[in-house]
């Protein structure tokens, strides 16, 4: 045993000595046991927030956008801020599942399911806002280019808002497919251990008759790889297109070529922060410390540190270009951000997004779960304010000083924001109860990773290969595949 050398870099992805069956047991446990008090309290809280938001949205749709604090100068504020915020949150999920998959980052396996779920729910939250921000949301279907009897009158394919429609719906669809395909084998596991008939029936329908056939696994793996390949440029494109809502406009502070990369990085930044927030809660609540280890958190903290620094670079680049361009409107907009009536929002953004992540240079902080939790909350707040700063401070003082105006949100808008969090957590909590939160198949496939073999008879790898054909190749493969 002592001659077996395992690299220090290859720390086990799953801590604790768990067998395959134990993985299934532990992962399916939250589905099968009765919900605890914590869950019910959290669910009640989320549902209340959702109710508040639903009431606010109902009131707004029944009365008019005037129930918000917008005016003729500031035509978007909380609505689009929330939209971009949630889309951003939705990026980490796909990033973790697709990009890290393509990069063969095996540590993703224990967090990708919940990250993907988070993506789906965040995109749902995001999609609510373009819908309810419309003056006549009941006519939202007019943004679809369907054949009609108006001439036919199509849609305007030049509008970034229409690109959004396509990007968000594509992103949602592909993310959902990706997530669901990942779920199918695990649903089969849940099905095959289900005791009650109803459970079995539901999981039977949802698992598409999955039986673990290796022929299907083979295609499945190819398809999964393809989805990852499709989702990776997609995730970049979505936030690029969202950024084009602003970048293709003529408003100083919006009309910026740096926006696409800036938005994508910001989305990764905020998305990872939100994943971290959620996972820290989840690993505690459902006892997943074995699967979601401090190593996972540290890895994510590193991503947050890098993206946070890029975001900080983007902020300073904006200022530099505003000065360097010599454009008086552009220059004013950025000075106004830092010193104008919305300076408070700007400095919240800078301190949360640029300063706090720098603490992650310290390993102690990176490995301190409470510190990470607090930091991730700060980043969430900061990234919300980043979108608020971009949307509102650019609009409130643009070209003609005669139109300059201030913006104050109303209670309805705040309630809508609260409601979107309610929707998100309601969906997430239901997900925790109804679906396997860990990608069983994937965790099982890495459960031996960085760990000594479970079976004593497999201990000796130095035995001649002839005696056990294939053995040495397998073991070798496993060790090299992850280099």
């Amino acid at each position: 045993m002592s001659h077996q050398v395992y690299s220090k870099l290859r720390e086990p992805l799953v801590t604790g000595d768990v067998s395959l069956h134990q993985i299934t047991e532990q992962a399916c446990a939250p589905l099968e046991r009765r919900a605890g008090l914590t869950w019910w309290m959290a669910f009640a809280l989320a549902l209340t927030a959702l109710g508040v938001g639903a009431a606010a949205v109902t009131y707004e749709i029944a009365t008019g956008i005037g129930t918000w604090g917008l005016n003729k100068t500031v035509g978007w504020a909380f609505d689009i801020t929330n939209f971009v915020f949630w889309v951003g949150i939705g990026h980490a999920g796909t990033l973790i599942s697709a990009v890290l998959f393509l990069l063969r980052q095996k540590w993703r396996t224990s967090i990708n399911r919940s990250a993907e779920a988070m993506t789906i729910f965040a995109v749902i939250c995001a999609a609510v806002f373009p819908l309810i921000h419309m003056g006549r949301p009941w006519l939202a279907f007019w943004t679809a280019p369907y054949p009609n009897f108006r001439g036919p009158l199509w849609v305007n394919f030049r509008s970034p808002l229409l690109w959004d429609v396509f990007a968000i719906s594509t992103y949602f669809t592909i993310s959902l497919v990706f997530w669901y395909i990942g779920l199918i084998p695990d649903l089969a596991s849940a099905r095959d251990r289900a005791k009650s008939k109803i459970r079995k029936f539901i999981y039977s329908i949802m698992s598409f008759g999955w039986n673990g056939s290796s022929r299907v696994w083979s295609r499945y793996e190819t398809a999964y790889l393809l989805f990852a390949g499709l989702a990776t440029p997609l995730v970049v494109s979505v936030h690029t297109i969202v950024s084009m809502d602003f970048a293709t406009s003529v408003i100083p502070g919006w009309h910026t070529t740096i926006f696409p990369p800036y938005f994508v990085v910001g989305a990764v930044f905020s998305g990872f922060a939100m994943v971290m927030t959620l996972l820290i809660i989840m690993r505690k609540v459902v006892n997943f410390q074995n699967f979601i280890t401090v190593n996972h958190l540290e890895n994510m903290a590193k991503v947050i540190l890098v993206t946070g620094s890029i975001v900080g670079l983007a902020y300073s680049t904006e200022f530099f270009i505003a000065w360097y361009s010599g454009n008086e409107y552009e220059g004013f907009t950025f000075v106004n951000r830092a010193t104008g009536p919305f300076a408070w929002a700007y400095w919240i953004m800078v301190s949360c997004n640029v300063i706090t992540p720098q603490l992650l240079w310290f390993k102690k902080i990176r490995r301190s779960v409470p510190m990470l939790f607090i930091l991730s909350i700060f980043v969430n707040i900061g990234m919300w304010f980043e979108r608020f700063v971009i949307v509102v401070t650019s609009l409130h003082r643009d070209y003609l000083p005669s139109s300059w105006a201030y913006y104050t949100p109303t209670l309805i808008e705040i309630a809508t924001l609260v409601g979107s969090f309610g929707l998100f957590f309601t969906l997430f909590l239901l997900f925790c109860r109804a679906l396997p939160m860990l990608a069983l198949g994937e965790i099982k496939s890495v459960s031996k990773f960085g760990r000594k073999p479970r079976h004593p008879e497999l201990d000796d790898h130095s035995k001649p290969a002839a005696k056990q054909p294939g053995k040495s190749t397998r073991a070798h493969q496993r060790e090299t595949a992850h280099v």
Binding site: F141, A144, Y146, P147, N148, F149, R150, G151, P152, L153
Partner: protein, 184 residues
């Protein structure tokens, strides 16, 4: 469940029904009342007046060449003829007597409007009459209609396609297809 059945159901649901519902729903939404033929308070016959008697449309609908409305004739216009023409049949006599009585009393007849456009469409009769568009082009073969009926579907596409054809098919009326032609 057989997977073939599943695929058929899937295609039926998403491939056909949804697009069909959307397109048909669209027609319904903008209020297609083609064929609308409301009952009128008096049995006035266009086929008699415009058909057999060959009265010019604008004899009664006199504002068609100067106003956005073609205008429904006033009772005095009816009485121009019906002072003398009292009717040949009992039915005609009775109804013409009703007109005369309403005229005497000064009570207008409340006709049912056949062609309705939404408020955001500013159609103008005079623009079309001035350019020599026949009434029948839109209103159909009125001289053969006993009771007036909406001939065309009056959808936007119907308007626009005719306007477009004027330009592309060389009919030469230079009909605009700008939005603000009708929507302002």
């Amino acid at each position: 469940m057989n997977w073939r059945i599943f695929i058929i159901v899937f295609i039926l649901t998403f491939g056909i029904s949804l697009p069909a519902m959307m397109t048909l729903g669209d027609v319904h939404l903008i209020g297609n009342h083609q064929g609308y033929q409301p009952e009128q308070p008096l049995p006035f016959s266009h086929s008699l007046h415009a058909g057999q008697l060959a009265l010019n449309c604008q004899y009664c609908h006199s504002a068609a060449d100067e106003s956005r409305h073609a205008s429904v004739p006033s009772l005095s216009t009816c009485m121009n003829c019906h002072n003398l023409a009292k009717g040949n049949t009992e039915f005609a006599k009775a109804n013409i007597a009703k007109i005369a009585a309403a005229y005497e009393k000064g009570e207008p007849v409340r006709w049912q409007r056949v062609h309705n456009l939404p408020d955001f469409v500013h159609f103008n009769h005079s623009a079309h009459v001035t350019k020599g568009v026949d009434c029948q082009t839109c209103h159909g073969n009125v001289p053969e209609m006993g009771v007036m009926r909406q001939n065309a579907d009056l959808t936007m596409g119907w308007c626009v396609n005719c306007h477009r054809d004027q330009n592309t098919l060389g009919k030469g009326l230079a009909a605009p297809t700008d939005c603000d032609t009708c929507h302002h």
